[in-house]
Amino acid sequence: MFLKSRENIIRFLFFLVIFLLLFFLGSIFFKSLNTTKIFVPDKLIGRSLPDFTAESFDDKNKYFTKNEIFNEKKYYLLNIWASWCGPCREEHPILIKLSNDHNLELVGLNFKDKKENALKFLNKSGNPYNKVLIDNNGSVSISLGAYGVPETFLINEKKIIELKFVGPLKNSDYKKILKKINYKNEN
């Protein structure tokens, strides 16, 4: 009887150890889930923005080159958006907040959109952009190495990509951007 119960205790302890081990692994996985940043190819970050030209949203047939768009020694936020894209609505309030920061110029690249829809969208939810450009066939976005809409690039005064965000901007991204642009200005 005693032997039998001792065997049982050993068996129980054995399972307890496995259980705890699994629990440990599970919590490690769980924590990793929250710390993982979205995987962005390192290639683009730290590189200078590729050259491109894009049509102006306001004047038809007027084209801007990269140097004309990013002409001041300032931080620029290039945001690819479209009126039909749900996540763009989600991040819109953050863009509006960012547009209040004087150290930052916002450039919107309107992706494969109908002009009237885009205008409606800006009129309804507010226009955070200092400049709006058009990317009708998506070629500009592809040349920027974008995955989809929305996507946002933080470009410094040397026209180097400092941060890149795939998908809608979150509040943590907002803080990150603020930290970057204000840190540089204090120095």
Binding site: R11, F15, I18, F19, L22, L25, G26, I28, F29, F30, K31, S32, L33, N34, T35, T36, I38, F39, V40, P50, D51, F52, A82, S83, W84, G86, K112, K114, N117, N137, G138, S139, I142, S143, L144, G145, Y147, G148, V166, G167
Partner: protein
């Protein structure tokens, strides 16, 4: 648009069928009748058909470039060739999960039909567990990864243009790997069911063996295709990198291989019950774990892509529930220890047990190498990556005893090998082979000692297997031919890898046009360069000639591509292969000058590495069809 809605409705109805099936199973389980009610067959079939059609509708939307669906919009493009439009269906998260689900229900249906001779309650429970998994996936797809999510207004063009993903090997790699992963779900469900029904015996072993074999075959081919893609298309310049995502698919392969062996003992000798069950449970848990790690993007690897943490969380919860429940079932229903079936040291049982120990050891090494960086990052906030040296040190030396056991083990008899002369004969063979090949140790560099030893043991294994083949064909002794062929595949793999290690030449030099470079028996001549203008890039093509002593000439044309939009320079390797080696060359310009940096590799036995994996899978296939 409308097709997408129907596709979604089909998924929802499939969920309803699955829940109803569980209800049916409950009542059928309690009834006294010996047969499974026809309703269960009907609803399992309906469940399969609804998922199948919803998958077809998704393919159809991809073929038609229906950009009203988010998944089509994000992953397809009107100018894609038809083949890649179709393969694009499962080339993304949502579609690939639907494929998982399809295979899951397909296997569950086949199991129901194929297991007719088994115990009713055991079959019902297996289908029950299978349905719980299906429901888990259905809810996951419907809640977080709906492939039929629609977009309004409808975009004119899709985003999916990425040319790297347009590759034939990549198009079939995921589905085949999935067949392997999902096949192990049947093994898992049936192991739990057999445990509860006290059905873990000879009959169960011989009926479940075919499912283990099927998932092992697909996993083998799936892993090989992934490796093939990385070598030829990504130009990684090798066949295995111990990349986390590769490791994650290797882990269930190791446990399935162990299971494949231990199930034979259970079938023939009715022993190792608990151990076999543990392997069956681990195999599927590791498959799910692989899906979790890849899909959630928490691994630091080239393969993992951005993903929603909510998805990762769901799979993690699902995975934990599966792991804990199977652990609890195992605790409660673990087969009682019967009077120990005895066997002696020199027996087939021992040799299979040794195989299992090695497999588990390799598994632990791979598991630690893959997960340790994650643990460290969380606990210590430091990022490390575990590279090939870790795996090479811990795995390669252990291959030496492994190969010796693998050559001798299958010649042992069950219970006890009374005639020890066969072992003595084998060891004598080994000695002779070592003596014959020992001059190689003096000829080659010291750093090759390990590879040489592995090579010699690979030859030893190959010869023992050829001997068995001879006995099968000439002396027509009864031998398990599919086992011999699979082991033969493994011997070829080991020999190829070791030769690849020993003989591969890699040179890295700077040359200008007209230069030549001599190494060993070869001469590499940089003849000229020419330019070419293509639609979206300009290219510089080098013309190289590789001469050997016998004046055999091979032309190689590596390319530098200069894309304008975005400005990007890529170098395209030129690979010329024959039966025994691949010539692999890349070039890149040095600071706009006339010199080019040339990387040339002569890689031995590359083709045989892929062939050997196919031979291994073919051996398994023979067994499946022999039944």
């Amino acid at each position: 648009m409308i097709l997408g809605q129907i596709g979604f409705l089909l998924l929802v109805s499939s969920l309803i069928f699955s829940i109803y099936l569980i209800y049916l199973i409950y009542f059928n389980y309690k009834s006294v009748s010996d047969i499974i009610s026809i309703k269960i067959y009907t609803f399992t079939f309906l469940q399969l058909i609804t998922i199948l059609f919803s998958f077809f509708f998704l393919i159809f939307s991809f073929v038609n470039s229906d950009f009203s669906l988010v998944s089509v919009y994000q992953n397809s493009h009107t100018t894609k060739p038809l083949f890649y439009k179709i393969s694009g269906t499962w080339g993304n998260h949502e579609g690939s999960l639907l494929l998982w689900l399809l295979v899951l229900s397909l296997f569950s249906f086949f199991f129901l039909i194929q297991s007719r001779n088994d115990l009713k309650k055991y079959r019902l429970l297996t289908i029950l567990f299978q349905n719980l998994i299906i429901i888990g996936f259905l809810v996951f797809i419907i809640k977080t990864s709906n492939p039929f999510l629609s977009l309004y207004p409808v975009p004119l063009e899709g985003l999916g243009l990425n040319p790297i993903l347009q590759d034939p090997a990549l198009a079939i790699h995921p589905p085949i790997l999935y067949l392997g992963y999902v096949g192990s779900s049947i093994v898992f469900s049936s192991a739990l069911a057999a445990m509860i029904e006290k059905y873990v015996n000879k009959i169960w072993a011989s009926s479940i063996k075919i499912w283990i074999m099927i998932s092992w075959i697909f996993l083998t081919i799936g892993i090989m295709l992934g490796s093939f893609w990385a070598y030829y298309e990504l130009g990684w310049g090798g066949f295995w990198f111990w990349d986390p995502v590769e490791n994650v698919s290797l882990m269930p392969w190791l446990t399935l291989t162990a299971l494949l062996h231990s199930i034979i003992i259970l079938e023939k000798r009715e022993t190792f019950h608990s151990w076999t069950l543990i392997l069956a449970i681990i195999s599927f848990t590791l498959s799910m774990n692989g899906t979790f790690l890849v899909r959630s993007g928490i691994l630091n690897s080239i393969h993992t892509f951005a993903n929603d943490p909510a998805r990762g969380l769901y799979i993690l919860i699902f995975l934990s529930i599966l792991a804990f429940f199977s652990l609890i079932i195992f605790y409660l229903f673990q087969p009682e220890k019967k009077e120990t079936t005895r066997f002696f040291l020199f027996s087939r049982e021992t040799s299979i047990l040794i195989n299992n120990w090695f497999m588990i050891f390799f598994l632990v090494v791979v598991l630690i190498g893959t997960i340790y960086p994650l643990i460290l990052e969380i606990l210590n906030n430091s990022k490390i990556s575990v590279g090939p040296p870790f795996f090479n040190i811990l795995i390669i030396p252990f291959l030496i005893p492994f190969l010796i056991f693998m050559s001798i083990g299958p010649r042992m008899n069950w219970i006890n090998t009374e005639n020890k002369s066969i072992i003595k004969k084998k060891l004598l063979h080994l000695l002779v082979i070592i003596i014959i090949f020992s001059p190689m140790f003096f000829y080659f560099d010291k750093k090759n000692i390990l590879s040489l030893s592995i090579f010699i043991l690979g030859i030893f294994l190959l010869l023992s297997l050829l001997n068995e083949l001879k006995e099968f064909f000439i002396k027509s002794k009864i031998r398990n031919i599919s086992k011999i062929i699979s082991h033969l595949g493994f011997a070829i793999l080991i020999i190829s890898i070791s030769l690849n290690n020993i003989f591969s030449i890699e040179i890295d030099t700077n040359l200008k046009v007209g230069d030549s470079y001599k190494f060993k028996k070869y001469e590499l001549v940089f003849q000229n360069i020419s330019g070419k203008v293509e639609k979206n890039y300009n290219s510089v093509i080098g013309k190289f000639i590789l001469k050997d002593i016998k004046n055999d000439i091979i032309y190689l044309n590596p390319e530098i591509r200069i894309y304008e939009n975005p400005p990007m320079i890529t170098s395209e390797a030129s690979i010329k292969n024959n039966f025994f080696y691949d010539n692999y060359i890349t070039m890149s310009n040095i600071q706009g000058g006339e010199y080019y940096n040339i990387r040339f590799q002569k890689k031995f036995m590359m083709l045989w590495i892929w062939i050997s994996a196919l031979v291994m899978a073919f051996g398994g296939l023979l067994r499946v069809f022999k039944k």
